[in-house]
Symmetry: C2
Amino acid sequence: LLPDSVHIEAQALDRLGDVVAGLAVARCVIIADSNVAGMYGQAALGSVQAAGLPADLVAFPAGEASKTRETWAALADRAAELGLGRDGCVVAVGGGVTLDLAGFVAATYMRGVALVLVPTSLLGMVDAAWGGKTGVDTVAGKNLAGALHRPRAVLVDPAVLATLPDAELRHGLAEAVKHGAIRDREQLAWIERRRGALLGREEAALLELVTRSAACKRAIVAADPYERGERALLNFGHTVGHALERLTGYRLPHGAAVAIGMVAEAAIGEAAAVTEAGTAAELARVLTGLGLPVAPPAWVTAVDVLPGAGSDKKARGGRIRYALIERIGVPAGSGTGWTVEVPEEVARHSLARLWAGAAGARQVSPERNVI
Amino acid sequence: LLPDSVHIEAQALDRLGDVVAGLAVARCVIIADSNVAGMYGQAALGSVQAAGLPADLVAFPAGEASKTRETWAALADRAAELGLGRDGCVVAVGGGVTLDLAGFVAATYMRGVALVLVPTSLLGMVDAAWGGKTGVDTVAGKNLAGALHRPRAVLVDPAVLATLPDAELRHGLAEAVKHGAIRDREQLAWIERRRGALLGREEAALLELVTRSAACKRAIVAADPYERGERALLNFGHTVGHALERLTGYRLPHGAAVAIGMVAEAAIGEAAAVTEAGTAAELARVLTGLGLPVAPPAWVTAVDVLPGAGSDKKARGGRIRYALIERIGVPAGSGTGWTVEVPEEVARHSLARLWAGAAGARQVSPERNVI
């Protein structure tokens, strides 16, 4: 599920045409949301056309609300009108929504065509572009309709982060913190040392962050592409995180939900005697330093979050299992499929205690500006 | 893309519960069309429930018109309502439409869940159940939205063929003839010898036919799962066949279209000096003996069929390539990706000649009763 070729470098976007031309495809459809199409659509289109390939740019309305079966169907119909064949290529240029949505178009168009990913958000660069997951949301759940589809190439151009809104930069940093938390204490220490450069968008620092984080995610996916074991670690922070997203009607952004979720699941792990004491506090300190929330809005209670976790995709046969860590950089559960079962009341009490002690942080609200 | 377990045997349907229980899944959704649900739905449901698994039967309106993204979405939504999780299983019971449609549900539900196929048509048993192709139709084309998804198990119970309409039995035989034509002259001779028993639905003869044909298709898929070469052979008769289906608004059934297509493509191969002279005539004799058509309705001309072939999925970069045979049992194109390029005018003239000489057969019409 990992790409044949990876290009994480300055001016990577300019190389798109050469990369696509090297795939021996007959035609390209470049998919971007209405915002990204305006910023990078012409550059992408020009690069592919300059390489001698027929190409079209197709835009869809920006926003999570477009990540639906309806947009997926409309994009596929448009690709068919434009003459995309089995030997065609879909190029996704954008953030997580675009990578997931356009990836699902490529995965299912004539049973699968070539896919090239050009993430333009930090979250896309460190997370969504790696591992082959594609999908759209339905009323029944996030990514309920989806497929695994290997991209042929991934291009990461750090220059595009210059236009990323501050909040989205921080949301991407949350996933990078996760990579450090589950596997690489030094990554976490590095993020703390370079915090100023990262938040100040120094290109060299961002390039190094993406290179490190992408390598971490690729290593986990390579070891367990179909999530039968180790890949479950990537769900650290996501059981509570997904529940928070659902509970807030997805007004709480994914990166913020994962930040809150990591601290929550570290606390659950501490209560279950799986995680070293003090881990939740250390993660909270790092995340707060990056401007990320570490507790949900005040109206969210532990009871609200945990029953919802039962319908999370990690639930097996109705029991709740968590991807936990033993301590920063060291995952738990190596003998139990890299997840650990925690009794619901232990989890509930630990969250109630955690969030009762986070009165200040609990002022954040998705109805206002979340972070 | 081939199943872990294959059960082609009398009373196979009764074993469904044991087979599904062996997959370590938590819950089953059995999908069938409204006709098949009435005939075999309760037997399938009872077998799974008797094995101790929670299961539900979901029916959709019978007919090719249901093979759409809309039905796919409705089935997935229903599965979610019924509590199907990542550890769930979709069981498809039915003909080609059901196997393709329910297979696409399984391929895309939470990025893929376990799939068990129980074909109830001869076409499903010899063709659709093998090879992992799933999909639905859109206005832009057949199977335009689809995915490759490996079934975990396939169960073939020849007893269900007792209720299959005569026309559908013959349509299945067309694909079995194809397997003989592209790979196994003895299979073709056997079909001719056992014609009476096959058309008379003797269970032993049908069981042997399905066993042979399924083995042929499995061998080709095993050698080339992703259709980069040899699997293209399975498209023999399908370039012209698909064009005929499109041209008749899909009133010409697939098996009938493939029968006409095989004779047409054998004639094209003869005109291109690829195929041994007399092959088209021999195929026409065998197919006619099985009650299958060998020429399209009189209003269809070679010109109608061939430009349409340009949008066929086998077209590469706009040029038309055919999967052809050298002679019965021996494929052509081993050095050119198992397809052969034929100039359009050679193809057009050969078809015009063939169909001009088929005045009697050309009386068939999809507006009346096709075969």
